[in-house]
Symmetry: C2
Subunit: 267 residues, 2 copies
């Protein structure tokens, strides 16, 4: 049997009681930290909590070498993952593969940036459009899609939750600053192709750091203000608001240091 | 100090270790079940787990009578809520009010239908547009907005997560069947105002029941097939897919009993 267990947002105490119970009862525990990473903890603390050694798997071992499925045929095996276990496509594939191979599977959900990020931003969850994520640019790799998704959402009066790249193997975690610079660079590249740009230095954005930890940091302001603001340690994400409702504006002013002038442009 | 503690999706074991620790240390625990409800548990089990009595508050007591804030000035108080504590606007308001009154607040996140519902549907989380929720109709109250949100999402090639009404005080929890009937009834009411309807009996939908419990039920099919299908006990929700990617279609066929013909219309 295979259990996919979500560790939740921030540290080893964000796992559910159900999750801990499973981990204490299975034969083998593995973890992957390439789809997300918990900053408030380390593997030793999770091992102490479960009384078991935990094997860390890389992407190849999880996605191609079937380490988990082969083991789960005869043993009870758990795969630990940050956040909620079904947000990464890698993990929904396990539901398909276990079904095909007749292996039982159970999902232990966890708190996720998809819900907690929307919630803590103070923007109303039902007004978010498509999520996007910004990758670390690479040689010949600089997709415009994150910018375009945000623009589409703005046209539809929808907020955007912007997730930022995690390259745990290289110890690189994108900051709010890097994410905002990426968006403005896309704008610069599109300057000859488009006439109107919905995202400029003047737009309101919300930088969000370390959701789920006591060290949460929220700051709302113009992109030009946030682009050099120090949000501290990872993980970071960004919310780009569409037109604000007055309740949302009040939250941003009170909780996220936004300027009171945002009230002037409320719905 | 006020703690907002998310109970997670389904039963008393979906709370995080962090949440339990808080509950065992605070002076008073309250719970509200008007924004959501856990079906796999009851208050006695949570009281046993925490060793404390829990006061159940109604909407008036939470939103207007300031029971919690008044108590939190001098004591450590926790408010328990199903899912993630920040998804209901009621709770984000506590961040504003505690800040204004100089009361400390801490959020303990929980697993939420917003992330788990998207994940378990097998549809790719970053392809969801705006969430909508269907209310129980009432005298002179039958909003068309849920239907229109889904149509807007379909026009934007976005999936929709459809939450269904909870009237815990009346013991009413909307079923997938009621939700789908609601959508078709909106379509009927709009028949003289619009020409093209993107939602008909022929559309694919995914009925989702009891996410987070062992008794999870997923079934994908045409609305006409699902409208009389028995999904069993609450809570239910619905996902309305836009154009499917082949990986999503494979998931729905393997895990959610969808007909293989859905492969013909993949992206």
């Amino acid at each position: 049997m295979l259990y996919l267990v979500g560790l939740g947002l921030s540290d080893h105490e964000d796992i559910s009681l159900k999750g801990i119970k499973v981990l204490r009862n299975v034969d083998f525990i593995y973890a992957e930290f390439f789809t997300s990473k918990l900053f408030g903890t380390n593997i030793k603390l999770i091992e102490k909590l479960t009384g078991k050694n935990i094997g860390i798997l890389n992407r190849m071992e999880v996605e191609e070498e079937d380490v988990l499925l082969n083991k789960a045929i005869e043993h009870d095996v758990a795969l630990l993952t940050g956040g909620d276990p079904l947000i990464a496509t890698t993990h929904t594939n396990f539901l398909i593969e276990t079904k095909k191979q007749g292996i039982k599977i159970e999902i232990i959900h966890g708190s996720s940036i998809l819900s907690a990020g929307c919630g803590i931003s103070g923007l109303q969850p039902y007004k978010f459009g498509k999520i996007t994520s910004i990758p670390f640019p690479d040689h010949n790799f600089f997709p415009h899609s994150p910018y375009l998704t945000i623009e589409d959402n703005l046209k539809n009066n929808a907020h955007t939750l912007v997730l930022l790249d995690i390259q745990a193997d290289k110890n690189r975690f994108m900051t709010v600053n890097q994410g905002l610079k990426y968006l403005l660079k896309v704008r610069d590249e599109l300057i000859n192709e488009k006439e109107n740009f919905l995202i400029t230095e003047e737009n309101l954005a919300i930088g969000i750091a370390r959701v789920g930890s006591k060290d949460l940091k929220l700051k709302a302001g113009k992109i030009s203000e946030l682009i050099n603001f120090d949000f501290g340690n990872p993980l970071h994400c960004i919310a780009i608001p569409s037109k604000l409702h007055i309740v949302e504006a009040e939250y941003l002013i009170t909780i996220a240091e936004a300027d009171k002038s945002i009230l002037d442009e409320c719905l």
